[in-house]
């Protein structure tokens, strides 16, 4: 089976991937306007300030939208159909992710359901994914 895609960090995103390796979802916050944002870059997309800091997100999120993919990407053959989701973090930003610990059906995947972050090891890189909040670990 083909390998799943493995992200290659850049200097600007390295702290995010280091955080995932440490079991933390790290995002950025602008100290000028207070906004949290994703994806990682060293300037606030809202106000342009470069006074930004890394923070550890709570890992709590809600299910904002998704598709259930029936034509798997290389490396995902054994998982189809699988959900590709947009989650909204408690801090505000949204991100793409996969959903784990829940069946990928419209009945099980209800918009705005509570989720929490988990991490999947992939060739030494940890990929943030989300599962229903409070699910057995």
């Amino acid at each position: 089976m083909a390998r799943k895609p493995v992200p290659r960090p850049t200097p600007e995103t390295q702290p995010y991937w280091d955080g995932a390796r440490a079991g933390e979802l790290r995002i950025q916050r602008c100290t000028a306007c207070g906004d949290h944002y994703f994806y990682p870059r060293p300037l606030c997309p809202r106000c342009g300030s470069e006074a930004v800091e890394w923070v550890t997100a709570s890992g709590r999120a809600t299910l904002h939208s998704y598709v259930i993919n029936h034509r798997p990407a290389p490396g995902f053959e054994n998982e189809a159909p699988y959900a590709i989701a947009i989650v909204q973090l408690e801090e505000g930003p949204r991100m793409m992710t996969n959903l784990v610990g829940v069946q990928a059906t419209p009945e099980q995947l209800v918009l705005d359901m509570a989720l929490e972050v988990a991490f999947q090891d992939r060739e030494g890189t940890c990929i943030p994914v989300f599962r229903p909040a409070g699910a057995a670990r």
């Binding site: 992200p7 029936h70 034509r71 990407a73 995902f76």
Partner: protein, 384 residues
């Protein structure tokens, strides 16, 4: 400065064939479309001094054609690039930077002959923050906000399916459309799920083909002794949102659609109600829904019912995607060129499914997955 009415599309044509063309490279599809557009307006090719293309380098295509450009545009921001080329060309002609601009599209989207490989750089934002989640082409990305739209506005699966049904009605009148057999909402909902909530018949075709345009000043167009009426550029707009669909500000509306169309309507001095005909780039069935709302043809949340009740079908009050669209006519990958071509045909009165008395036509293009957008308001001489 406004370019309203100062520049005209004088030549417009597609490749001889559309669909599956395994005996033609992407580069040669550009060339065939160019030949046909040059023939369409009867201009001497040596008079072409401006050139624009996307998909292939404009340098490569210009050289393939033997042109000597004095103005180039290689803007490549997805399927709306050709609308952007029209906008930039109109400004360049109005400013005197060049006199006659050729814009070409050719794509071996189906057969992949001489086509660039599709691969995400794992260090790019998309390679880091989308590809690891198993995205597999546009069907897994473009519709990712549809369920949010459905929850927000109560759009039903049947209404979404009705977009494909309406466009097939147009395609059934068009001998060049790849898919012409009539379909029902039940057919759409019974077609295989590609990426829930999208079924096969709610996803665009994947084809080979091309198209090209020739633009010049309104004055020169008047002096050319054209066999077909010039189509005037009344208003244009362009914008961009995010390189990753997951970064959209709001998954129920396209900011790029709103910004680009507002600029085009303002320059043209018209409101949506003044348009006789509309093309909305339909890579997937939800795009016409977003387009109708974001351009202001209907209110937020109203487009699904508007389409389902037949408003955009043959005989409806707002004829939309009258070639059959990307869902039924053709979709090479960067469909925007074909949306412009149909708009030109309708304004010239030569479309396969001709709408009576089209004076103003609006073309809304999209690039990437709601990544970028461009809008053209085109009109006949009566609108000047």
């Amino acid at each position: 400065m406004s370019v309203r009415g100062r520049v005209a599309i004088v030549g417009a044509a597609e490749t001889d064939r559309l669909g599956v063309i395994p005996d033609c490279s992407a580069l040669q599809l550009h060339a065939e479309a160019a030949r046909n557009a040059i023939r369409d307006c009867g201009i001497d090719r040596r008079e072409i001094d401006g050139f624009a293309a996307a998909g292939q380098s404009p340098v490569a295509v210009a050289h393939h054609l033997g042109l000597v450009p004095r103005w180039l545009d290689g803007t490549a921001i997805g399927g709306c690039s050709f609308l952007v080329h029209v906008r930039h060309a109109a400004a360049a002609i109005a400013a005197g930077l060049c006199q006659v601009v050729l814009i070409t599209h050719g794509e071996s989207g189906r057969s992949r002959v001489g086509a660039a490989p599709r691969a995400a750089d794992p260090a790019s934002p998309g390679g880091q923050f989308e590809a690891p989640y198993g995205v597999a082409g546009p069907p897994t990305m473009f519709p990712i906000g549809v369920l949010r739209y459905m929850k927000t506005f109560g759009l039903t699966h049947e209404q979404l399916a009705s977009v494909a049904v309406a466009q097939r009605k147009w395609a059934s009148r068009n001998p060049r459309a790849l898919k012409r057999e009539p379909i029902t909402v039940d057919d759409v909902l019974a077609s295989p799920l590609i990426a829930y909530p999208m079924h096969l018949l709610e996803c665009c075709l994947v084809t080979d083909g091309g198209g090209a345009l020739v633009l010049t000043s309104a004055e020169r167009a008047a002096a050319m002794g054209l066999q077909k009426p010039p189509v005037y550029v009344l208003g244009t707009g362009e914008s961009a949102e995010a390189p990753m669909v997951s970064m959209m500000e709001d998954f129920t509306t396209s900011r790029a659609f709103r910004v680009s169309s507002a600029g085009a309507f303002a320059e043209a001095g018209i409101a949506p109600a003044d348009a006789d005909h509309l093309m909305v780039y339909d890579a997937f069935a939800h795009l016409p829904i977003y387009g109708l709302e974001d351009l202001g043809f209907v209110g937020r949340g109203e487009a699904g019912a508007f389409i389902a009740e037949g408003s955009t079908e043959p005989g409806g009050r707002l004829p939309m995607n009258t070639n059959g669209g990307g869902l039924s006519y053709t979709h090479t990958g960067m469909y925007g060129m074909f949306a412009i071509q149909e708009s030109v045909r309708q304004l010239r009165g030569e479309a396969a499914a001709q709408v009576p008395d089209v004076e103003v036509s609006v073309v809304q293009g999209v690039g990437g997955m709601f990544m970028s957008a461009a809008t053209l308001v085109l009109g006949t001489a009566a609108t000047l």
